[in-house]
Each structure stands twice: as structure tokens, then as C-alpha cells.
Amino acid sequence: MERDQILKKLQEIVGDPNVLWKDVDLAVFEYDAGLDKEIPGFVVFTRTAEEVAQVVKLLHGEGISFVARGSGTNLSGGTIPLNRGVVIELSRINRILEIDLPNERAMIEPGVYNLALQNTLAPLGYYYAPDPASQKVSTLGGNFGENAGGPHCLKYGVTSNHILGAEVVWPNGEKVWLGSKAVDPPGPDLLGLLVGSEGTLGIATKILVRIMRSPERVLTMLAIFKNLEDAGQTVSDIISEGIIPATLEIMDNMMIRAVEESMHAGYPLDAEAVLIIELDGLSDGMEEQAQRILEICRKNGVVSTRRAKDAAERADLWAGRRGAFGAVARLAPSYLVCDGTVPRTKLPAALSAVKKVGQKYNLAVGNVFHAGDGNLHPLILFDDRNKEEMERVHRAGMEILKICADLGGTISGEHGIGTEKLKGMPLVFRDSDLEMMQNLKTAIDPKGVCNPGKVIPRA
């Protein structure tokens, strides 16, 4: 079928105004929050699961590739349409369909923002645990595709631990249901495979999540350190002591300055590193636990500590943390955020090695990361108009991934492989592992039309 005919068919499914086809319109969808860019063939705004299924069926029949997209906050190029594939926009499929408190479940559509769900649940005394820093704008469909994490995943697990079911449009356009309000569907964990598959195995059009009762008390503390490695060691020591706080987040001086200039969250500008520690749960025993943590901080040379006095101060500390990536715009036009993960005890070694990489390539590197999970986020700052600098950035990024792999970690903790980290996959997988992944992809998507060119490197 010719391009004009495809356009006509797409318009028949979703209506004329809901298909973008002019280059000037398409250019808005050529990038996500990663570095790669590719212009799509069309952008199709869908409003129902049925429309998604019909669009996919048409494209599958024509052998045209497609990629589902929510808010485009992906940090690894996962939502970039390769070979002029079609972008299937899901952000208008955005209803919260059901909040079932007695069964502790919520059914939502993929275009619902993570924070919108949280805001709906909070007055009811419940919450949804995964809370990526992008939660204001990232959609739950995107969180599903990327297996998003977030600060509170240290204690409560990542997205896949909280997804119990989904309606999925298969790569051939068929709709299937996985899971239900009841747990443990028989057979291999297909849902576990789809969550985090970066939209390469299907498109979730309804998502059933677990919701949880809000804790009785939350205690947020800020510990200030004279160097980053001490903060990293503190995190390792807290967990080793058997204490699992709700969050353990670190920010270095460069990031503290950027955040303070941007939003005045209350971080001390002279701190080399701050560690945000949050405890939640029953109030009984929490004070004693906090004292044990403070002792560990002191053992690691903490300069000072303080507690959020009230909800407003706590909100400020978190606003700073969540706004850190955005605040970097004050320092440089572009950044590459690495996402390697290491065992927690290797954090000091990893941080030290990352610093050396920055020096080696003459690049500014800031750090803001989920320390409790060992999930580093070095942000390499650069100007994307400087091609030579960009080349150094890519080499530095790959070197950081190798450091993480060599320390017993992995190349992505929560941002996904996308197109950006394809070359890093052999650092953590051998040929037989990748072949098994490719076999799964081929079994589910034999035509290779569902977000091709992501996750698995070409053999």
C-alpha cells in the first residue's frame, strides 16, 4: 500500500485530525528524553483500545513498524521510531477506570500520569508505590513499558512488582488479557516479560495495579557529607545493618547547586553530598531506628543532619530531588544520564571511578541517584552543538556502563536499553542469552514490526 493509502486508512480509524503526516508536525515526535532522533512516518493519536488494535492490525498487515508513546520521557531512545515507523500516541487514553479499595487494585488506562493516580489515591489513604522522578508527566503506560523505578522502590519494588494484569494489543493487532485481580496466573510469567520490554512485545491498553495503604508515619532526614564516597558508604552500611528505609537518595554538590538555583529546596550549598533518608511505617520503633541510622552517618563522618519539621519541608526536599534533572538545564544545554546499577557495597568504588571518567574525558559529571538500590545516575553535561564533545560523551557513557558491569552490576537499572545502550548489552549478556531474548521477540512478533531495533542488539 502506498503512503497516501496508509494515511487514508489511518484517518478512517482515528479521524482526520488525529493523524499527523506533515514533516513539520512529525518533527515534534522525532525525539524523547534521550539523545537519538528519528522522524516518524506518521503520528496517530488514539482514544480507545479498539483504535489501537485497529491501527496495529493495519500496520502489521502492511509490514510497517510502530512504536507506542505516552509523554516521551524515555531516557534511552526507546520511543524513537526507527525507519520512519508510525508513532501510536496513547496519552489521550487516560481514564482511571476503577479504584477497588477492598481488593487493593486500580484499573487505569495507559495515558494516565503517574502523579494523577497518586493524587487520586492519597485522599483515600492509599498510594501506588513506583514513583519515578518524572511522575508529574510520565504515563503509567510508559512506566509499564520501561519497568519504571523511583525513590520508593528501595523498599517497595519497581513497576513490575505492582502490575497484576493488563489488556495488551499484541503485535498482530489481537487484544489479549494477562493476569487479573486474582494473583498467580498459571504458566510462565508473561506479564513479567512484557513489563519493561520497552514496547517491543505489545501495547498495554489497560493496566491493573496493586495499591497500598498509606503508612502511619513518614520521617524524612537530610544528612550532609564532605564527600560523595562517604555518603555512598553510609548507604551501604545502613542496609547491611538490616535497616531498609523507604528511600536513600544521594545528590552531589554540582546537582545541589543546580537545584538550589532552580527551586530553593533548602539544600546547603557548601555540602559535597547530601543523603535523603526516609523511613515510613508504624510510628512505634521508628525513632529508635532513626537514631541507629544517625549513628551510622556519624561513623561515616557526616557533617550535619536535620529532619524535615513538617510536610511542607519534606515536600521541598522531595521537590528538589525530583526536579534535579530539569535543574541541570541551568548548567548545560544537554545531558546524558547514565543508569548503571551496582551492588550497594560497590557504590563508593563506582562513584570514584565515575569521577575519574569525567576527568579523563574532560566532562562535567553530576550525580543524583537512588543510592539504596545501587542505581547510579551520573549526568554528563555537554553542548550538543559541539560534535566533538558529544563523541566524548558517548565514549564516557559507555565506559561508565562498563565500570558498573565490571563491579558486578548492570547497564540499566530503570531507564531501559532503547537504542542508546544496545552496544552495552554484550557487557552483561553472552550470545546464548541474547539469542533467547531474540527468540522470544520473534515468537511474539514474527514480522518484527513492534518497536524494532530496541533492547536486543543485532547479531
Binding site: 485481580k181 498467580d184 504458566g187 510469567d189 516479560l193 546499577t341 551492588p343 553472552r430 515468537a443
Partner: protein, 433 residues
């Protein structure tokens, strides 16, 4: 069907070559032509490579406690007993992770962890934990009451190693708590029941032993009181580790479901002050709904109390062990309906409801051949289509054959079957569900 017999007591190998898994496989009606018990991964690779070359069929088995979670073939060329692979591969206490070979039993793992200078534990407590291997638990997606607080294997597993159908080593995940590098096969292979690869080792999250533990033991007189209490418990800020409901009318020899009373065992763990406060609050809450009981502190008491509520015991006479899962609020009524079905069929059984998860374990013995079909139908009718699952864990082949599809046919067609054909083209491993 099988004659009366007890599960072997000293395992493995108390009856010649019979290991528990192989013994179980045979007793469930699967003809086994040959048994191999590799001592390590290398040997297992060689066995599977030869099987691939020779187009033999292989059935991996561990402790034999969940053999019917997948498909039981009529016969297999080779039963591959994993219990020879039972060692700690790596323990990293500072990062709270442990890698063990597939054949290590859950009790062996917990003995190892408890014996460390700072005690640790693995919160995975399916029945028969003295025989259930970690590889088998992973392959069958086994769990127990403590899943309420700690989740199931999909929440605990960090990485997995295995051998594919051609005899090649594969590995997924790792030892970090977060990992989105590539497809998540560590999760996908959970519940695959040996149909896609042989699991050789599993890396799992472990936890430090809590400061304090307690067991609250309560009795409720009516279903209505029980339901109201459980609803109030779920909406409270209490955080139990396990909530198990059994019934006092359900013991051997009790023939009626009328006048049923419910026993509820609730475990708490954590800081001493938090445990003490929860004990007090729970007893008060129970009293508001007519519940009577007491709270006792001590970890052994909590673990043993909860274990005894779900463990079917040692008997093995035409076993039928099912896992039924429904939405949480439907748990108590499904539990009662299940007891009624068992009673109506004149069977004795043990049932346990994990009340905050909607999971029910049913264990019955001596299902007569002539009424087995009706029983299966009645049990399956308890859960409407799309409303949950009735899944065999242990059942004779002849009973499984009456089961019909255990996975939606559409899902089997678009996903499971194509995946099986790609990953195991010659059919070395047992069929996929």
C-alpha cells in the same frame, strides 16, 4: 491410581535410585525410562546436549512437591533429578543476596542463613519446605503465607542461571535489586514448570532476621464476622507478615460444614515496639467483630504456627493439591464453598486461606477414580471465568487430563505455543501449559 503410601522419609535415595522428584513423578502416573542426577552444572549441560542430539525428552524435577504445576507427559526418556546440585554458590550478606544451586531445599537455605553471625532468612514458605527445592519453587511459582509482606518469587529473585534445550548455559538478571537490561527472563521463567529450560541456580534477596516476631491466634464464630474483621484489618495501618485462615471443622473425621468456626493466625514482624503495639491493636480489633484469641511472641512460634496451618503433612495417598486464587474479598466465601464441595464428595481435606492475598491451598486425598471428573468440574466451577484460577500443584495424570486448558486458549496460541516452538524446537522439555 496410586496405592496408599507415605512420602519417603529419608531423602534422597532411600529406595535405590529413587529421589523424591522421580518417585513423585512415577507415583503421579508418568513413566520414567531413565534417571540422571547431575552433581553440577557442567554435567547437566552435557546431559541436555546429548538429549538434544538424541531427540530425547527430559523432565527436570527437584523435591517433587509441585510436579503438576506444568504438564505431566505420559512418559519421559529421562528424569533429571536436580537434588544433586544443592550448594551455596555465593552469599553476600552486606548486599543481602544469596545465590544457590537449584537443588537446595528451602529449609536448607534457611538453616544456612540462620546460622550466619548476623542471622538472615528467605521469606519463602510453601508447604513441604523440607523437600521443596529453590529450583522447583521457582519453576512452579510456589509461595506461602509470608508472601503478604515479602511477595513471591517474582519479588525475591534477582537473577537466574539455566541450561537451554540445546545444552547451552544461559543467565538473566544478576545480583542488583534493580535491573532492566534486556527482557526480564528472571520473571518470565517463573512458573514455566521446566518447559523452557533447566534452572541451575537462583540469586535471591534475603532479609535480616527481625528484631521481634509474634503470632496472634484467633477464633471467629461466623463467616460474616470473619469477613468484617478481615476487611477492617486490611483497611487498618497494621502490617502483618501473614494472615492465614483455617477452619476448626475441617480436621480429619469431621463431616459437616455446618457450624464451621474459623481459626485465623496472624504473624507480625519488625521492631519490638511495633510488634507489641500491633498485637494489642489486633486483639482489640478482633474483639470488635467477635473474635477471641491471644498473642504470643517468638519467632519459632510464629513460623511453626503458620507452617502448621498450611502444611498438608506427610501422607501421600492419591494426592490432590490445588492452589485457588480469587480477588481478596472473595477469599472467605470461596474458602467455605470449597469446603462444601469437598464435603459433598465425601472427601477429607485440609484448606488454608491466605486472607490478604486471596489464595487458598486445598489438599485432599484418596479421590476416587469414578468421581474424579465431577470433582474437577465442581472445583473449577467455584471460580468464574476471568475471576481467578484453580491450578493443580500435585495431582495424578489421569486427573490432570480431565482438567482441560489451564491457560486461555488465545494466550496459548499467540504467546505460549510460539515461544515454546522457538525456545525448545525439538521438544526436549515437557510441553508448555
Amino acid at each position: 491410581m496410586t496405592p496408599d503410601m507415605d512420602f519417603p522419609s529419608s531423602l534422597p535415595g532411600d529406595s535405590g535410585s529413587a529421589s523424591p522428584g522421580v518417585w513423585g513423578l512415577q507415583s503421579l502416573g508418568v513413566q520414567v525410562k531413565q534417571v540422571q542426577k547431575p552433581a553440577g552444572e557442567k554435567e547437566a549441560r552435557e546431559i541436555l546436549a546429548q538429549a538434544f542430539q538424541g531427540r530425547q525428552t527430559v523432565f527436570p524435577c527437584g523435591g517433587g512437591t509441585s510436579l503438576s504445576a506444568g504438564v505431566l507427559p505420559q512418559s519421559v526418556d529421562l528424569a533429571l533429578d536436580t537434588t544433586g546440585m544443592g550448594k551455596v554458590v555465593d552469599f553476600d550478606p552486606l548486599n543481602l543476596n544469596l545465590e544457590v544451586s537449584a537443588g537446595m531445599t528451602l529449609d536448607q537455605i534457611n538453616e544456612f542463613l540462620a546460622g550466619q553471625e548476623k542471622g538472615f532468612f528467605l521469606p519463602l514458605d510453601p508447604p513441604w519446605s523440607s523437600r521443596a527445592t529453590i529450583g522447583g519453587a521457582y519453576a512452579a511459582n510456589s509461595s506461602g503465607p509470608m508472601r503478604l509482606r515479602y511477595g513471591t518469587l517474582r519479588d525475591l529473585v534477582l537473577g537466574v542461571r539455566g541450561i537451554d534445550s540445546r545444552g547451552r548455559e544461559v543467565a538473566f538478571g544478576g545480583k542488583t535489586v534493580k535491573n532492566v537490561s534486556g527482557y526480564d527472563l528472571t520473571k518470565f521463567l517463573i512458573g514455566s514448570a521446566g518447559s523452557l529450560c533447566l534452572i541451575t541456580s537462583v540469586a535471591i534477596r534475603v532479609y535480616p532476621l527481625p528484631d521481634a516476631s509474634s503470632l496472634c491466634d484467633l477464633i471467629f464464630g461466623t463467616l460474616e464476622e470473619l469477613e468484617k474483621f478481615l476487611a477492617a484489618l486490611r483497611s487498618s495501618i497494621l502490617v502483618p507478615s501473614a494472615v492465614v485462615v483455617t477452619d476448626l471443622a475441617g480436621g480429619p473425621g469431621v463431616s459437616d460444614t455446618a457450624g464451621i468456626r474459623f481459626r485465623v493466625m496472624i504473624g507480625f514482624e519488625g521492631h519490638r515496639l511495633a510488634v507489641e503495639r500491633q498485637n494489642r491493636d489486633l486483639l482489640k480489633l478482633a474483639g470488635e467483630f467477635g473474635g477471641l484469641g491471644d498473642a504470643r511472641t517468638g519467632r519459632d512460634m510464629m513460623i511453626e504456627g503458620i507452617r502448621s496451618a498450611v502444611d498438608p503433612g506427610r501422607s501421600w495417598r492419591d494426592p490432590l493439591f490445588l492452589k485457588i486464587s480469587v480477588p481478596i474479598v472473595q477469599g472467605p466465601r470461596t474458602f467455605v464453598a470449597l469446603r462444601r464441595v469437598i464435603h459433598d464428595h465425601g472427601l477429607l481435606g485440609k484448606t488454608a486461606l491466605f486472607a490478604a492475598n486471596g489464595v487458598i491451598f486445598l489438599y485432599v486425598e484418596g479421590v476416587p477414580e469414578k468421581t474424579a471428573g465431577d470433582l474437577v468440574k465442581d472445583l473449577r466451577d467455584l471460580v468464574p471465568a476471568g475471576g481467578g484460577y484453580v491450578a493443580p500443584v500435585l495431582a495424578h495424570r489421569s486427573l490432570i487430563e480431565r482438567w482441560g486448558a489451564r491457560v486461555e486458549p488465545a494466550l496459548h496460541q499467540v504467546a505460549f505455543q510460539p515461544i515454546k516452538e522457538r525456545l525448545d524446537p525439538t521438544g526436549v522439555f515437557p510441553p508448555i501449559l
